[in-house]
Symmetry: C3
């Protein structure tokens, strides 16, 4: 069984945001998979996806602090500046975290750990809405 759908996420502020609920609701076919995978892909080069702690707003905030410090806007070596000071750091942050996450599915549900969720990582100051491509496949339950 295969299911694939685009999901449009409304614009988020720069930073890290939990989107697990939106992703799961957009693909109800997950509930029919006995065993399978969910692949989540962001179709942009200045936003990314990761899996991390789903409980604390402080964790989301601290992610932003570390990435802003590690990939600073005022680094002397940036030459790609035409799209604003947040653009080139956004590209690097995007590749450090990656454009996709893949998650195991078991018995109709994501087989995540209790504390895991999916983050949309918005690296631009005004990134606008973001489009994800959700793809799930596997063996169907029952029948």
């Amino acid at each position: 069984m295969w299911a694939q759908r685009e999901l449009r996420l409304e614009e988020r502020s720069r930073g890290f945001h939990l989107v697990t609920g939106e992703v799961v609701e957009a693909l109800p076919e997950l509930g029919r998979l006995a065993v399978g995978l969910l692949h989540v892909f962001v179709r942009h080069t200045s936003a990314s996806l990761t899996v991390n702690e789903n409980a604390s707003a402080a964790v989301l905030n601290d992610f932003g602090s570390w990435f802003d410090a590690a990939v600073p806007e005022d680094a002397p070596f940036w030459t790609h500046r035409s799209e604003g000071p947040d653009d080139m750091p956004a590209h690097v942050k995007s590749s450090l975290l990656g454009s996709a996450v893949s998650l195991p599915v078991a018995n109709g549900r994501l087989a995540l750990g209790a504390w895991q969720g999916v983050y949309l990582c918005e690296h631009r100051d005004a990134g606008g809405p973001r489009t994800l491509v959700l793809t799930a496949w596997g063996e169907e339950l029952g029948g």
Copy 2:
């Protein structure tokens, strides 16, 4: 063909550890795949997985040195401190490396390069045992 299984890894010390052998032994169904994929997922937010050099203990050690320097415990911007000084850096390191690796399978074996192995990256001082979800799928050999 699909196979999925949880693998419990005994507690490792903080650092980087080769686990290729344990992963392959836990999923003997790999031997039946003519062509396919193996997905390895860690169900925790302070440990991660990566593929890297499988021969030198110095490489494993130097990974630890770089990550400890790049994501320091005493960074002034951490606000999530309730679970200890190693906790928030562990979350960031986990996302930099990622919670999953996916590996091609060919003729019943992982199609890794000669020098590649799978690392469990333990970012906590006392992370305890870690659970992986192994999922393999593909076309069966023979028949």
Copy 3:
């Protein structure tokens, strides 16, 4: 439907290089997939793959600058020095970016965003040719 093939990339200079065209041309079976995935894996531990901006040479160049600054060859903590000063940083860069990318396929084409491409990230001064393993699978178009 499954298709798997090795692709040998000629030696690139140290830095970041777009290889989307080579990858797609090497696996014409992509054109037969109504919905599926393409998995691209690099069989080396000092080169990596990522998805990022496909238009600007300055972006490719700035990636190199950031990674060289973030993972310096002269860091005092490296102990694995036997293969040259660029070797251990290459291993770390490789894991920061990852050894694989997975891309959704829809209607016979990669479902990338308009500005996305696949980078080969060459972290050695003289890395030589690099081998990729391309694996595609999914539901076939038509009949």
